[in-house]
Amino acid sequence: MAAVQTRSERALNRIAIAAVLVITLIFLAPIYWITATAFKPRNLATTIPPTVLFEPEISPFVKLFTKRSQLREAPAPEEYAAAPWWERMVFDGGEKIVRSGRGEVQPSGYPNRFMNSLIVAITSTVLAVGMGTFTAYGFSRFRVKGEADLLFFILSTRMLPPVVVAIPMFLMYRVVGLNDTHWGLIILYTAFNLSFSVWLMKGFIDEIPKEYEEAALVDGYTRMQAFFKIVIPEAATGIAATAVFCFITAWNEYAFALIMTNRRAQTAPPFIPSQVGSGLPDWTVIAAGTFLFLLPVAIFTFLLRNHLLRGMSFGAIRK
């Protein structure tokens, strides 16, 4: 902007600032509403007018992790008094925590699904970024015949609609027994993220001057040593950014998980919607599950903020 601003320009700027603030508030409102609902008692989650001010409580999280049943009658006073504080919260909500014969608290389906999400997302990220870095280096530093075609082939595998790929994969997995297993999903997500990882990592490695490795080769390094001791450390930021992108994609994925898993290996994205079945869902518990599930991605988004542009455009646009 020019150093001298006219009065109308300054007024225009003020309007723009106000508009940006309003837009930001609108965009964040649903996320705020999820967070707020996750800390509400159940009776305040669905009120008219909506409850904005309330005393936050963590009962939705207690309910999220435990298996509960409806209370038919109020608990006996001694039972209530003997219960720990978190169990009383559930009593207060008209439910009770299901315990096994030996008195152990029974978990809900959520912790298990959350763990599955972690296992599948982390393993597939390590595989996709590992293989992707090697391949990107190969494309970046060596002459490969038909490079453009191969890169297009790699990219196009990512563009296929998940349901289209899922039909034959489901049939093949049925033959080899990979349906509803962690490895079944890990392989799918690795294949899905690999193309992305190659494209993004190629951009990062292209930016590392070739002279670094050539100097090392002159000094007596082998190509392998030069790759591990010079290229990998130089590309560390790029590797981290690529890993976070792959993790988020695998973490968020829904269609494959819905089709390929149902109990043992089910991840959180198909599980959370399955809780909204018939009847009145407890939105506070759903919000609590959603909140915990979104939290890692929100943190990663802040860590990634300088690489978002590159990641979202497959490394095509750099800044």
Binding site: M1, A2, N13, A16, I17, A19, I23, F27, P30, I31, I34, T47, P49, P50, M131, G132, F134, T135, G138, F142, R143, G146, L150, F153, L155, S156, M159, L160, P161, P162, V164, V165, A166, I167, P168, F170, L171, A191, S195, E214, L217, R223, M224, I248, W251, N252, Y254, A255, P270, I272, V276, A287, L294, F300, F302, R305, L309, M312, A316, I317
Partner: protein, 301 residues
């Protein structure tokens, strides 16, 4: 295919005499990935191409019978499939147009001296990073006719969004616009910040009006990058499954991916769904081709 490509030799390499030769390293680095993608992406597609010519049903033990092109013929003559494509097209148009207006508009606003610009931009980008399925589910509560905050905030009474067949597709598109306008905004911002400042200064000296400046300077220079955003979002909206599947079960929101999912995994018409998958695949590849051509064009600049 993979090995044929790898035969050109790079004999002049300095390190060829020590350790592994460059050719071996290159092949070691590239071939596993190509093979992995062939086994897990291309092979399944060949497998399903085979099934698309049969009457196979994965739910029964009956062997698959070869039926030739009958599946394709039946699908292309099925008015309901065309209806699904029409719904998809409508969805793509509403949702991509909305994203371009909101995203590009916000980018224009942000492309000024705004305090805390970095923080605001990051906050605005948050929706697109979240899981469509999980966040989409929560929009069910936001759209609820009796206690949703959308109706309350905009004073719409007990307006039906998701259970109204005429409104449901718009409701899904609105959620999609909320999620993906940030993407258009991100790319537009990159395009806008790359416009040389001296062009604006020259326009100011020539006393060019704001409309002239926008249509003759800003838009032409941002157009290529905006086009990338539009093609990319078109491709994604065409494939959409999660949001529409989770938010509603109206026939008016049955986009092609949902039809395909139902045909394959609820009706178990495996052979026919493979044929439909191929029809969809060809359409997606066509759009992808345009996208990649455009990417390369922009990259060259």
């Amino acid at each position: 295919m993979a090995t044929a490509v790898m035969t050109s030799l790079d004999t002049k390499s300095r390190s060829a005499s020590r350790g592994m030769s460059d050719i071996r390293i290159r092949n070691l680095f590239i071939i596993p990935t190509i093979l992995f993608l062939i086994v897990f992406n291309i092979f399944p597609l060949i497998y399903s191409l085979g099934y698309s010519f049969t009457d196979f049903r994965a739910s029964s033990n009956a062997p698959a019978n070869f039926v030739g092109l009958q599946n394709y013929r039946a699908l292309l003559n099925d008015p309901f499939i065309w209806l699904n494509f029409a719904i998809t097209a409508k969805y793509v148009i509403i949702s991509v147009t909305g994203q371009v207006i909101v995203g590009f508009g916000t980018a224009m606003l942000l492309n000024r001296d705004i305090p805390l610009k970095g923080l605001l931009t990051t906050l605005l980008l948050l929706p697109m990073m979240l899981s469509m399925a999980v966040v989409g589910l929560f929009w069910k509560l936001l759209y609820d006719p009796s206690f949703g905050i959308i109706n309350y905030t905009f004073g719409l009474g007990s307006f039906e969004w998701l259970s109204n067949p005429d409104m449901a597709l718009y409701a899904v598109a609105i959620t999609d616009i909320w999620m993906w306008s940030p993407f258009v905004m991100l790319l537009s911002l990159a395009g806008l910040s790359a416009v040389p400042k001296h062009l604006y200064e020259a326009a100011a000296i020539d006393r060019a009006g704001p409309f002239y400046t926008f249509f003759r300077i800003t838009l032409p220079l941002v157009a290529p990058i905006l086009m990338i955003a539009i093609i990319f979002r078109t491709m994604e909206a065409f494939k959409t499954f999660d949001l529409a599947y989770i938010l509603t079960s109206q026939p008016t929101t049955e986009v092609i991916s949902i039809r395909l999912y139902k045909m394959a995994f609820q009706e178990w018409q495996t052979g026919r769904s493979c044929a439909l998958a191929y029809i969809v695949l060809i359409m997606v590849l066509a759009i992808t081709n345009i996208y990649v051509k455009y990417l390369n064009k922009v990259k060259e600049r």
